[in-house]
Symmetry: C2
């Protein structure tokens, strides 16, 4: 026992050191996206590469392998408590992924990523898919090699998906996404065909940046985001990052004429941050203080952004404050009008500008595209046509140029196959969890419309955050909601909310 | 040849990776002093320790030793160019220092530093030297052990000094400081006894912080500080740090009632930063892009802060702008009055608040104290008395409590013996270099009083910055000024400037 304890302690000490390195990498990245001067980029890229290299070497080291072999021996593993088991099991999963990849392939991928991203930036500018195609082909080839090295039963997409959404199989996503699509498309179609939209421009006006920043801070604090353990800064592409157990930072972006980008980016990122601030301090630096999956992480941000932050109840409480911050454009505008303004549904080409209803069709399309590309059913050369056909089929619109279509996202240029579906999984998990929270907290709707946001945060901490990686997404979902992932919660949420907004019986 | 080239290239590649780690450590530190939220401190300390440990292991590694042994073989070394020789020679010096220290001693020191600094903070608060004394004694003991391990000919203070001021011997500093003291004390005495000071409070008033920040940026840019390769932020204790070849950051501090702290901290730090921004890009990441010594670094900051930034010529050009920024307190105040206000000489207890004339007496006192403590001539228990006697002797004042005396500085609690003399060396080098710059640029005074600051920056780049560590401080001083370090330049500068300000024939 004592020897095992010693091994476990050494293992955790080593893991915590590695976490320190990855947190330092996170700070290099945060700084690059917030405050780094333009000429800092060359040294920054070099520092990133060096720390990444050191971290990778340590993760796949003989030392790590030795700890894991010893701690995985069944009589040792069974003597561990649940938290210890989680750390061993999850580190083993990460170790086994990484150690299977030949270092030549890792280097080739890193080098291709940077070339390919450059090529994508230019190709998107010129809307020239052919210029990007060779990089996409090469990237698909390398990612297939990754999949082969890691191994899989069903499809090479499985091990790629597993990087972002562990323990979730492609076939399960295919099946739920296909049901979801069949239910979602008619809802979207009816809103688009029959719903009447207000004029987007109507509430635009003068929203001073300092006021927007102050309101962003106010709302994040209302949600229970702890500014003593974090900060809010500006970034072109808002993100959340954890620099340490007591240092979880969020970023947002501002538009002087429109408060919506800042408002909803802030609420979204604060939702992510509450997850990271909700881990238990005794687990800091270990995998018990990491999220289950990107899908689950996204469920936290989407729940706060959409189910709370775009609800009429939320604004019934917070809209008077918002009007005080921005009397110019908002005085005399009623809360129902403002609520409609933050919930306009319309088909659009660009994913990151899409509303919460059509957004998922953008994701379903990408999931179908990338499984097709990885499984060989779609030829990279035919990607633009395949993309455009799906856009027409799901959203009824066809982009005129590939920069508004297949070239719009950075993900594939970086090899992030398997990442997109986590966005829609996030929405589905969010609706199912929120439905359960409403059952468990009967006063939840009233709480929100009275500006009491902490009960929801506490419920999430207790049911999701504090567990870290202890359960898989599937296990936790069943444990908390009593059933597996079920798209009907999200469909019901959409029908109810948008039926009311658009006066339609959906 | 080809094999040596390969070894040299591998060596430089390894050195550049190590630089990436030390730059990452610098970013962790910059962030800690500027933007880190309060609860980030625990994880930050851990990340610092992990990266420091990794860096130390690499510096003293067998790999580094192997490169250095091979590249130091005389037929190899002689085949290198001057830049290559510099990198080998200086890395060897650092390696040999570090490798001689038993890792137990390194750890004991690190652990004592943190305990001792905590004890110092409390002891200073309570003005209770006895509470700090055991830590001081232990620190002196450990630093003596460091000195014994590294080795020395004359005095154990030599290897400690060498960490900050390489290739400079204690006996040389003793001799120049003793001559300097004998010439400085009478000057200070006459100014204090016969000079008439204006009222400190007279120009205090309303100096809005945003205006102070804008003026700080303006002045730094005027000096040629490149904001595309740096930033200006706020910090309690202003500092300059290099995060990468194109990323040299400065910080300053603000007082709403007094523009002087921000003005001169900004100019001081920008002076440091010009040194770091003046290295040649082809040397970035190597020791050819590092400064000679702390004394030389300080010469750059002090020259800009005092010889340029507190000169009447400088303000003849910039004072009208300053008045425009702060019309309230400064309109109707003439430039001569303002110039006197930024050059008030008076004895004071606290080093960091001292003027440029009395400042050096604070340093001479500390140098005498710390050589005495390390060489055994002063017993740590008698440090307060020894301190107070010297204060009385040099400045004619005696602190009433040790928090205003021997307990005021953090340095000894951290074991930074050998650091203090570099401040005065900086002043002496600054005066000697500035004297030479005036000879080499006949229009220099006129340039400065016309707001043309770039000729001085270019002269410093050409004569100092671009050489990195190629020459020792002694060699460079002789090369640029034609003589060794000579305190008369600084004495002459003081007599001339303050004779005029105080209407005394000094």
């Amino acid at each position: 026992m004592s020897d095992h304890n010693k091994t476990y302690d050494d293992f955790i000490g080593f893991m915590k050191e590695n976490t320190c390195i990855s947190r330092s990498i996170a700070l290099l990245d945060w700084d690059q996206q917030t405050y780094m001067p333009p000429n800092g980029i060359e040294a920054r890229a070099a520092s990133q590469a060096v720390l990444q290299g050191i971290l990778h070497e340590r993760v796949v080291s003989e030392r790590m392998g030795g700890y894991l072999r010893e701690l995985s021996r069944s009589e040792v593993y069974e003597s561990l408590d649940e938290f210890q088991k989680t750390n061993v099991r999850e580190m083993k999963r990460l170790y086994e992924r990484e150690v299977k990849l030949p270092s030549e392939l890792v280097k080739e991928l890193a080098s291709l990523q940077s070339l390919s991203q450059n090529a994508w930036v230019k190709a998107r500018q010129d809307s020239d898919f052919k210029a990007f195609q060779p990089y996409l082909e090469k990237m698909i080839e390398l990612k297939k090699q990754v999949a082969e090295h890691i191994g899989y039963e069903d499809t090479p997409y499985d091990p790629l998906l597993d990087e972002y959404e562990p323990y979730t199989l492609t076939r399960d996503i295919k099946s739920i996404f296909s049901r979801f699509r069949d239910k979602l498309v008619p809802v979207v179609r009816r809103i688009i065909d029959e719903g009447e939209n207000m004029d987007e421009e109507r509430l635009k006006g003068d929203y001073p940046l300092d006021k927007q920043e102050a309101f962003s801070r106010f709302i994040a604090a209302e949600m229970g985001y702890d500014f003593n353990s974090g900060r809010l800064d500006k970034a072109a592409h808002p993100f959340t990052t954890t620099i340490g157990g007591g240092d979880v930072r969020i970023t947002t972006r501002y538009d002087e004429r429109d408060p919506r980008p800042a408002l909803f980016a802030t609420i979204h990122e604060a939702g992510h941050a509450l997850y990271e601030q909700g881990f238990l301090p005794e687990h800091y630096g270990t995998l018990m203080a990491e999220s289950i999956s990107l899908g689950y992480h996204e469920s936290q941000s989407r729940m706060w952004e959409n189910m709370v932050g775009r609800s009429l109840g939320f604004w019934k409480h917070y809209y008077p404050s918002l009007q005080e911050y921005f009397p110019g454009p908002l005085s005399g505008v009623d809360v129902e009008t403002f609520h409609r303004w933050v919930n306009i549904v319309k088909p659009s080409f660009i994913r990151v500008e899409a509303d919460e209803v059509t957004y998922n069709l953008h994701i379903l399309l990408r999931f179908e595209m990338e499984t097709g590309l990885i499984e060989g059913d779609i030829d990279p050369g035919e990607a633009p046509e395949a993309w455009n056909e799906k856009m027409e089929k799901y959203l009824g619109i066809t982009p005129e140029k590939d920069s508004d279509g297949v070239l719009q996202d950075v993900h594939w240029s970086l090899g992030l196959f398997g990442y997109f579906p986590t966005y829609t999984l996030g929405n589905l998990y969010a609706a199912q969890l929120f439905n359960q929270a409403r059952k468990d907290i009967p006063s939840l709707d009233e709480d929100i419309s009275s500006g009491r946001l902490l009960p929801l945060r506490e419920w999430l901490r207790e049911n999701v955050h504090k567990h870290g990686m202890r359960y898989t997404a599937k296990e936790l979902t069943e444990m908390v909601t009593g059933e597996g992932l079920n798209e009907d919660h999200f469909i019901r949420y959409l029908k109810s909310k948008y039926g009311e907004i658009y006066g339609l019986s959906l």
